[in-house]
């Protein structure tokens, strides 16, 4: 299938959308991003982002391209899935159409912000090298990957917030995307819990519960209870009154760029 068709079809529906976004958004961004950053070397392939991830502090352009890579991944995933008759049960079709809509908007937003610096859409392998071979036939496999992508997205944006502290407007945009991903993640997880009759699979993350493991563990696992040096299990009105499970649910945790790219890497068949 031709993943680039989506942009053709969007532009047919709203031919002015790209131009409008490019005008308003790009200007906002470029006013904030220093010209030095904008002129910096532009990564054009995924591999170069991976290399950048090992640098001490990624540039704003790197972070936005990192985000764009994840949004390409999500958008392509839902675009393909929503077209396959019978994959998504009718009762959930609106949910996944809505998620796809947001991912398309995020791709557009980031592309417009990055302008010529935007990386190209890679070719994806959603079977994850064969691990999820039935992803386009089995809703359970599909939705497990959906939850993994959404929770990875939430953790990935959170992990970059600190790196954007010097670029306040971009930080705010990142937070505005971040909470949308969290809304998606919550419902997708709850649908899984409902399907599997598993009351412990909730909209929020208990301990580090979820599949696959790499999405929920990492340097700061989802089961972490210490925040800004404060152990939340030992707080008054918490200790002895609120379960440790609930304490872990109350805080989502970040993933580093490196950890995210390790998770996302096998989905990427070829960088363009």
């Amino acid at each position: 299938m031709d993943i680039f068709k989506i942009f053709d079809s969007i532009q047919q529906v709203d031919g002015d959308a790209a131009g409008r976004l490019a005008h308003t958004t790009r200007r906002m961004f470029m006013n904030r991003v220093s010209s030095k950053v904008a002129a910096a070397a532009v990564p054009t392939v995924f591999a170069s982002i991976v290399n950048k991830a090992y640098a001490a502090t990624p540039s704003v352009t790197d972070i936005l391209n990192f985000a764009l890579t994840l949004e390409y991944l999500e958008e392509t995933f839902y675009f393909q899935a929503n077209k396959i008759p019978g994959l998504i049960p009718g009762e959930y079709s609106l949910v996944f159409q809505q998620i796809e809509k947001h991912e398309t908007q995020h791709v557009y937003f980031l592309q417009s912000a990055l302008g010529a610096a935007a990386i190209k859409r890679p070719t994806f392998d959603f079977t994850y090298g064969g691990a999820f071979a039935d992803i386009w036939h089995n809703f359970k496999t599909f939705i497990a990957v959906s939850a993994a992508l959404e929770d990875t997205g939430v953790r990935a944006y959170k992990g970059q917030a600190g790196n954007l502290i010097g670029a306040p407007q971009i930080l705010e945009y990142a937070l505005q995307v971040h909470s949308v991903e969290a809304r998606h993640a919550s419902l997708v997880r709850r649908i899984i819990g409902h399907m599997n009759n598993d009351p412990m699979m909730k909209g929020w993350i208990t301990q580090a519960k979820g599949f696959p493991e790499a999405v929920y563990w990492g340097a700061t696992p989802e089961s972490n209870v210490v925040h800004a040096t404060i152990d939340a299990t030992k707080l008054p009105e918490v200790m002895g009154k609120i379960s440790q499970d609930a304490v872990t649910e109350a805080f989502d945790e970040p993933l580093t760029m490196e950890e995210v790219l390790k998770i996302a890497g096998p989905f990427i068949a070829k960088s363009m």
């Binding site: 976004l21 009762e91 959930y92 609106l94 949910v95 809505q98 998620i99 809509k101 947001h102 991912e103 398309t104 908007q105 995020h106 557009y108 937003f109 939430v154 944006y157 959170k158 917030a161 600190g162 502290i165 306040p168 407007q169 930080l171 705010e172 945009y173 937070l175 505005q176 995307v177 971040h178 909470s179 949308v180 991903e181 969290a182 809304r183 998606h184 993640a185 919550s186 419902l187 709850r190 009351p199 909730k202 909209g203 929020w204 925040h227 800004a228 404060i230 939340a232 707080l235 008054p236 009105e237 918490v238 609120i242 609930a246 649910e249 109350a250 805080f251 989502d252 945790e253 970040p254």
Partner: protein, 232 residues
């Protein structure tokens, strides 16, 4: 800029509005607007300040107190919800609302501890507009509080100077967004509402300044809360 809590929660006139205890919210906004309490958060004049006004403070302390105030409100709300559950609350609703109550208490206690002796006092909530026996009223209010919480953290992030506190705010806001999604889905299952009215055409969720948020929540807090010294 004046905004009612319903506007903060959902700028489009969605289904939700017709389902919530709309009468109450609109009335509260109207009353607040005429008394002036509505503008409290945005107020920079001394004339509204009285001795018992709670000043959130400045800098990161101010933002932490702002979050502490909102978490106090949410924790108090869900504590009341589970003390006096509405008629025919399902098991699933009980689990979800109990979880959220616990999360909000953890958030409240976290900020209290982080602030130490800089923490504002415990605020007195005003839930007189909420009918705790009515599922529609309770879930509608829950949706407003969660949507407001997300927009508040989204707007406060760029005001935080300490990267460690920025990270904590990030850890909390996504949990609030998970709550918001779940509550909206209880009201209208498997529909668009889990992620709709609060998100603009660029796929970005609302981010509001403290003055907008404080104006919106003022009718739900007995105390006068001032954010006049918060960073802008």
């Amino acid at each position: 800029m004046k905004k009612t809590l319903t506007q903060i929660s959902d700028s489009s006139d969605s289904l939700m509005l017709s389902k919530v205890n709309r009468r109450y919210f609109l009335r509260s906004a109207g009353v607040a607007a005429t008394t002036g309490a509505f503008l409290l958060g945005a107020c920079t004049e001394q004339d509204l300040m009285s001795d018992d006004t709670v000043d959130l403070g400045s800098g990161d302390i101010g933002i932490l107190n702002y979050a502490y105030a909102l978490e106090q409100l949410e924790a108090a709300f869900y504590t009341q919800v589970m003390m006096t559950p509405y008629l025919n609350m399902t098991d699933m609703e009980k689990w979800i609302l109990t979880d959220i109550r616990d999360h909000e208490i953890v958030h409240r206690e976290f900020f209290k501890k982080a602030l130490g002796d800089k923490a504002i006092k415990g605020l007195m909530p005003n839930f007189s507009q909420i009918d705790f026996q009515s599922r529609t009223s309770v879930l509608g209010a829950a949706k407003l509080f969660e949507d407001t919480g997300v927009a508040a953290y989204n707007g406060a992030g760029k005001l935080i100077k300490d990267v460690n506190y920025l990270l904590v705010a990030g850890k909390i806001v996504s949990v609030e967004a998970r709550h918001a999604s779940a509550i909206a889905d209880l009201i209208n299952p498997n529909a668009l509402e889990f992620a709709n009215g609060q998100i603009n055409e660029m796929g970005l969720e609302h981010a509001y300044s403290p003055s907008v948020i404080l104006g919106g929540v003022a009718p739900f807090i007995m105390d006068k809360v001032s954010g006049k010294n918060l960073p802008m």
